[in-house]
Symmetry: none
Subunit: 212 residues, 4 copies
Amino acid sequence: MRAGEKIHKGEKREAILQAALELIAEHGLQHTPMSLISKRSGASAGIIYHYFESKDDLLASLFYRIKGDMNRAIGAADDPQQPLAKRFQSLWLSIFRYCLTHPQEMSFLEQYESAYCMVQGDRTKTFYDMVEDKFHQEMLKGEVAPETQALYNLANDLRREDLLKDLPLEVVNEFTLGVAHRLARQEAAGLLHLDEATLKDIARACWDAIAR
Amino acid sequence: MRAGEKIHKGEKREAILQAALELIAEHGLQHTPMSLISKRSGASAGIIYHYFESKDDLLASLFYRIKGDMNRAIGAADDPQQPLAKRFQSLWLSIFRYCLTHPQEMSFLEQYESAYCMVQGDRTKTFYDMVEDKFHQEMLKGEVAPETQALYNLANDLRREDLLKDLPLEVVNEFTLGVAHRLARQEAAGLLHLDEATLKDIARACWDAIAR
Amino acid sequence: MRAGEKIHKGEKREAILQAALELIAEHGLQHTPMSLISKRSGASAGIIYHYFESKDDLLASLFYRIKGDMNRAIGAADDPQQPLAKRFQSLWLSIFRYCLTHPQEMSFLEQYESAYCMVQGDRTKTFYDMVEDKFHQEMLKGEVAPETQALYNLANDLRREDLLKDLPLEVVNEFTLGVAHRLARQEAAGLLHLDEATLKDIARACWDAIAR
Amino acid sequence: MRAGEKIHKGEKREAILQAALELIAEHGLQHTPMSLISKRSGASAGIIYHYFESKDDLLASLFYRIKGDMNRAIGAADDPQQPLAKRFQSLWLSIFRYCLTHPQEMSFLEQYESAYCMVQGDRTKTFYDMVEDKFHQEMLKGEVAPETQALYNLANDLRREDLLKDLPLEVVNEFTLGVAHRLARQEAAGLLHLDEATLKDIARACWDAIAR
DNA sequence: GATGAATGAGCTTTCATTCAT
DNA sequence: TATGAATGAAAGCTCATTCAT
């Protein structure tokens, strides 16, 4: 009964995270009280605090679960055997598609990141500076956000071949993952429709931006 | 005393908006109660409801005030007499600088837009679809968000000269205003430092992305 | 209308404190939720937080209101013109009577003081060490708890005449105020009945304990 | 294995009581949830309800365990062979020392007794009137609280020799156990330091209060 | 005996909004 | 216009107790 029990445990925790994700995507971070998460997930109000220390902890856990999923999904699409230009296109398209097919996750990420990003003095603090739970601490030990790992690997390969302009890595990131993310959001919102051919054109435009 | 009274009116309303902007940038949308806005602005709790119908109305008013400011600041930098490539560079740099020098406004915009953007069914609804007050209605009559006007004018000029790739306008927007916005954010957060030369390189990379 | 307003304001604050006192004496500190204080006092749940920062602040305010009352009541009974032995008896009886006629206040004081007194390491911390609000800070500026002031004045006069044994002041305090307090509690609880004559005998026994 | 099992049983029950005692002395009665007692004692949340009917029952059991300990400790110090004045001094000092060396027990007793003592109408009800479990019922069958037994034995001996003033027994109790208890508390809190000589002076002052 | 996940009523506190003055 | 005390629903969270295993 061991395995069964563990699955059951994991399922409840997962149900809570899933309920939170759906509700936040539907009603917004501000209009998602714990009571609603409790109702939707089928968990009692109290038990949520058995799995998560606080609402903040729940949200942080959800954040890192999504980041991890995204990282895995995108990383899986990278094939180091392929030629570099082809790899870049595949990666760009896989980012775009992940964003497009995960609107709830994208909605959550955007709300969460912007809610924890504020100005102090003449300084903007990102949520990475502000939230101090174990998850964030662990994450900060790595040098880059996990979902950019595949991209950074590719960027290093490009640089080795001297195919990349001399731009900061963050800028390269904005021209690829950033642009893909934002366009996928607009497509998901119906503000835009991009067919296969256009997508490839855009991927190519990104390439033009960063390639020497 | 008429004129004086009117100035006084405007000042109080402005003080409320300014207090809201500062507090939201400092503490976040979720942690900015009306009571704090009242304290910071020097206006009583009650009188805020004389100037604004509700908190939502106050936030929407602030949103449109900022959008207007931004539009004016960016538009002012566009000189139709200049050659097109030069115009593009100027515009890109002026967008970047506006974002960099207005961290409170950027913080507010990001929080506000993401808080009012949610998923229903398999559809992402932007806050433009959801908020229904007079301001939004007025805005929706125009075809594009005001701050992109100068960029769209330039894009049309570029297209007339056949200098622009055949990409949707929204994509062009992402490669310019979007990229500038996100990089300015990172610079403001101290995650990145971009010197004058690098900025011009990035503006050029944007141009490479969209120019034929 | 000024005076009227002020009285009205004070009345609501006072009503809250009075309701808290009654309920705590009736049901105990642990079984007196803010909701009950709100109901009994006729104040809404929210407005209590206009007058007091928190439940702790409310309790601390009540504590100092009672300490002040007690001090005034007991101090008023001391007549420096009287002979010293007579003054001691009067003071002792007035302490006893105050305790006896204010059972709610006594119940509250006992619960409050013991609830905030705990052991850390091999050290007992009194609530004076633990609570850190403005009231306590103010109180600690004085050298002795206010209700012992009259007693301390008398003790000094006795010492000047060399009528007092060479005992620490705290010990003198226990033999007078302390004993009176505890006996009044037992009388109020019906565990004991002390008539006038016996009371005078006890006051005399206290005198025997401390007088040379 | 019988004996072993019984020892095991007793140990777990004792561990729970000990954990409760420590936590209540450290954090206060109000801030000692069952979950903490469970953690500190190493017993699961559920099993506590095998040993105790409820939290109230656990607290009552702890109360009587402490009262019994105290009684035994103090009674052991009384030697009926000694002269009466000497016996009184020994008893007083042994009370004082027990209180001083058992700060957790004292903290618990004070909190427990005051939390269960409340005012109804113009009447103060002690916790003896209010708690109705078997322990209290048993206790009420005896005429006096157990820890005063040794003192009462001595008081009777004194009265037989006509050495005692004509004061109610409760008053005698206050002048001895009561005063010792309160002074030990203050010493434990560091508000006071009483050396051996002073302690004997105080024991003598108590004697002066009650002796004819 | 023993576990610890689960319950759900109840807690303190917050806050957008109203309204008598 | 302007005030700020007052409202009360709703928020996040706690905790004594139960019960399937």
